[in-house]
Symmetry: C2
């Protein structure tokens, strides 16, 4: 018979954003307490966690302070200097995912190299130490240039279709990748327990706004044949097993126009493509992540209702204390579930919240989500 | 087009228990902030709300302090001196439900009188200013004696079946009620918006441990004919409309052995019989309550999966820092959703958490919930 004290575990969360916020809610119902490390006072996660260490994610002394008061440490963000983390891990502090996995993933080149070495299908790529028209031409157009570090929500990615578009390149260490015309972009949220057990959520379909790389609309489950869904799940599990990761991983895939599945990239954390699991699935991704990192059994990932999800982004051209328009009208639509993140300032394209729409019919869910996207605007009191 | 600042509203919660805790989570995702009034530092609700006024629920100065920094005030507990609240309401502070409704309900005699006056079927009763064997005999056995004030979770209720059981009576101002052999005990969670719109959750069935009056197992939906379910919903709505209440109300009913429906009592707050709505329904009772009290449209109450719910009570004979046994084993059962309340001390029969089990088959959900009840024990490090 298992026996735990309450609180069960003290969870350290590096980064105080929305992922940490939703994780903290799950942590509390599982009997855990949370400490958030974030430089912004009153960060979204700290509003729920109740305990924040004010400091930079990269500050070795703050990371040590966090490690020393927590039983297990996990992440709201992935772009953290892993050197200190590795040192702390060596001293016996527990991190999930481990700094090794984080380091491998946060460099998009080593991530792709790991896919290639493990035989995981991914778009052809080359390392690019310094961008030049010649190097681009040698690789061949159309291509995608990806910065090795610091990419997030479309930052650090440039699609360069012709030599004339070369000016759109990123002047940083990067990799060049074959531009793959994708019929669909898919994602699989995979949970892997400490003992290696993997459980996947049903495959979802991500729709992006043309020209941007921020998720515009998510459909769960994806409208794909079951054989493709099974293959995507297999590939996602292979990817996370290859990484030997513990916790939730978001595996993004391309379904090419020729029906091939390619792994695009992996996020070593709870993922935007799993937010709908809060309402739509038996165990949500945040609780699942905590079950994994704390060493509890994984929950079932069955989906109870089709869902569509949209992000609520700060309106362009405005920055300041948030103002929300159309919220009441949106909440009157049956099945609309709103999540605001408690950010003190709205900024252009900043993720301020999300909406999940549940409906027995996924096409209706999609239409409702599009309607909500048109209705709700998060702006700011003042101009920039 | 509706326009709100963020935070949308500052919610005051009188009482810092588990209802306030689950309410605070919902409040945050709707863009509200919360302040809890509770005498215990680090109360369950304050752990999520992040802001607590330390003080007694009955302390007029503390109630005023809360009212002055909040836009709307609501309740985790119902047994509050309503005099101060009524004064504050008169000064323009907003309370939902209103102190008038609270006062009427918290006295079980005036509650029953209101049912009777409105023609809402309820078990026959008489006022009893002072208990005596003669008064009991005059009313006739078997009877139920209910204290007018302070009843909660079976406290303040005594079932006296024969003159020989008279010693079990309560020596307080009370009412005597006909003991009704109930085929089932049902509950309907009703949400009523500021504009009077009512939405009900599907009728649930409450099973109590024999001899105690604490909910042992809840089944959602209840196993009753649809005609009975419709009648129960109608009766629950009539009851809440008669009260002119705003927010969530838990209406408890008896289904008698002769097929009659009687309203037993009403709780003017989110209710133990609605906890499963967190996972099982599109909009949970806590978000629904907030939508109502803040003035947002009500959400849909559709149930996505059958559910069974059990409370996790502190083990008898022990008091102190909680220890939880069997949690990991219980979490391995598919569909088990655990909610711990973060209480610092376990005490005999104290509500320490609850478990909702989702399963496509309600009988399986019930069996799993019973298994979880047998598995999980919340005890304490030290003896009393």
């Amino acid at each position: 018979m298992d026996v735990f004290p309450l609180p069960l575990a003290r969870i350290g969360i590096i980064g105080g954003g929305q992922l940490g916020r939703m994780m903290a809610k799950a942590a509390k119902r599982l009997g855990c307490t949370c400490v958030v490390l974030d430089p912004t006072p009153g960060s979204p996660a700290s509003q729920v966690a109740g305990h924040q260490i004010l400091g930079d994610y990269h500050d070795p002394s703050k990371l040590r302070e966090l490690a020393e008061i927590c039983d297990v440490i996990t992440f709201d963000i992935e772009d953290i200097d892993t050197e200190t983390l590795a040192q702390l891990e060596q001293e016996g502090h527990r991190f999930h995912p481990s700094p090794r996995v984080l380091a491998l993933i946060q460099d998009k080149l080593t991530q792709k190299q790991a896919f290639a070495a493990a035989g995981i299908p991914t778009a052809p790529f080359v390392e690019l130490s310094e961008p030049s028209p010649e190097a681009f031409a040698a690789f061949g157009y159309p291509l995608v240039q990806k910065a090795r570090r610091g990419g997030y929500d479309g930052r650090g990615v440039s699609i360069v279709k012709t030599p004339e578009d070369y000016d759109a390149h990123l002047p940083v260490p990067s990799l060049l990748e074959r531009f793959v015309p994708a019929a669909k972009e898919l994602a699989v949220v995979v949970a892997r327990a400490r003992d290696g057990e993997c459980r996947c959520y049903p495959v979802v379909e991500m729709c992006f706004r043309s020209g941007e790389n921020v998720l515009d609309l998510l459909l769960a489950p994806a409208n794909i044949p079951s054989s493709v869904a099974e293959a995507a799940v297999d590939l996602a599990v292979r990817t996370v097993e290859m990484l030997d990761g513990v916790g939730i991983f978001g595996v993004e895939l391309f379904l090419t126009e020729t029906g091939e599945l390619l792994v695009n990239e992996v996020a070593p954390r709870t993922h935007n493509s799993g937010h709908h699991t809060i309402e739509a699935n038996v165990t949500d991704q945040f609780e699942q992540h905590l079950r994994a990192v704390v060493g509890l059994p994984l929950g079932v990932t069955d989906q109870l209702s089709p869902a569509a999800m949209i992000n609520l982004l700060g309106a362009p051209g405005r920055r300041g204390r948030p103002i929300i328009k159309g919220m009441a009208e949106a909440l009157a639509i049956p099945g609309v579930c709103l999540h605001l993140y408690g950010k003190a300032t709205s900024a252009p394209f900043r993720k301020m919240g999300h909406v999940t729409v549940l409906d027995p019919d996924i096409e209706t869910a999609k239409r409702k989500a599009e309607r909500v996207r048109d209705l709700i605007e998060i702006s700011a009191e003042d101009h920039p």
